[in-house]
Symmetry: C2
Subunit: 248 residues, 2 copies
Amino acid sequence: MARTTIPPLLPPRHEPFKVACSTCGIRQLCLPMGLPPIDIEQLERMVKARRLVPRNTALFSAGDAFEAIHVVRTGFFKTSACAEDGRDQVTGFQMAGELLGLDGIVDGVHTCQAVALEDSQVCVVPYERLEGLSRDFERLQHQFHRLMSREIVRDQGVMLMLGTMRAEERVVAFLINLMRRLRARGFSSSSVVLRMTREEIGSYLGLTLETVSRTFSRLQDDGLLEVKAREVRVLKPRMLLQVIRQAA
Amino acid sequence: MARTTIPPLLPPRHEPFKVACSTCGIRQLCLPMGLPPIDIEQLERMVKARRLVPRNTALFSAGDAFEAIHVVRTGFFKTSACAEDGRDQVTGFQMAGELLGLDGIVDGVHTCQAVALEDSQVCVVPYERLEGLSRDFERLQHQFHRLMSREIVRDQGVMLMLGTMRAEERVVAFLINLMRRLRARGFSSSSVVLRMTREEIGSYLGLTLETVSRTFSRLQDDGLLEVKAREVRVLKPRMLLQVIRQAA
DNA sequence: CGTCTAATTGAACATCGTCAATACTTGTGG
DNA sequence: CCACAAGTATTGACGATGTTCAATTAGACG
């Protein structure tokens, strides 16, 4: 029953959690980031509920009506864009504090799919409520704009990677980015357990799963990494950075 | 003096134009799109001025302080992202009604460069003013959010292209997209004069200029296009569409 | 009209993708 | 608890696609 190619819909729509941004462990990485307590209180009013998203289920899919922005509270997601012709690609991986669903605003319909790669929890921010409170609270408004802009800058970075990097550089850039974000969340800065398959990494990087696998093996042979299935340990962080810098 | 690799700064900062969105020829494609007259009047209040941007000059560069969103009124732009290591890539081409500078919101600094590919005119929308009026005018607010979201969706489309398409598909997708947008602006739907070099196209598509050139030649040999330097005429629009559809 | 940039084209080469065989994980049911 | 099955990862050989380098031609602009 688990692990279907088309993830099953999520049965329980809303879990009745108590939401309290002001005491949330990830508030420095999330929407409240940098806001004074008075604005964070407003933020709490926006959040409708938390929602559980079991592993391998879709939080939303392409074509779904857009009603809310979601913020990852715990867990790990991937988003995939799909074109009309069936082509699809992983466009990003999201972890605690990161936003899901900004694509839906323009036409009120999601154009991508968000799937949990492990049992996860998200905060549901109904979009109408967000716009409403943004009108009354300047800092909240600015914060939201900053996060949309950050997504645009992030996307530009992905384009740069896809357009200019070779396979090895892409894989290394992916790893460095992932570990930087994990470090910001208090995880080890030298070792990761990847939540995604080689195929998903490859899709994100515009490579085949074989090329991703071979690249990991080569980086291991060169002594920069230790790779054991999904567990990656960085042995030479400096040299890893150089893999990208030396190119141009 | 002209055509330096680093475009010269724009000497006259603000041209004293009278701004009137309500009578502007491109209002259906621009920020006012779909808004009722009463909101368009508010929009006019946001626009500080129009500004002339001569060919091959930068409207803004990476590192510049972000103060305003710009909207292309006439002409044609490219935006390029540049990484710390010197790597850079064209991330988009903008024409009348399209926005420039959304990347600057997050940190108050531009992360990309916008260069005019022909003598152009932009409307300057000071960002503080935009946020201020957005708080008072719901539809304006929503419109702005829609346009940021549209940029995110557009970027996802570019990623999909860079990650999954072969050279010929990329070039064709680029042409189809360009002509669709030109058609929406009342230009011929069968012939274009490209404003950018093969190198700029290649950078955008993640290909070398030689591959772009060869691909044009092949599409011409196959009778789908007629290419004479920068002038491209589409002879078989249906078959052009099929170049992309048949892949998956 | 001449110079500089841009575009085309060819040949050799590198990188990555495809196909295929094998090994390793993980979860499930006997 | 073990064995099996399905999914996931590794590795090799080969081939396709796109890059690099180089030479030539065509355009654009002063």
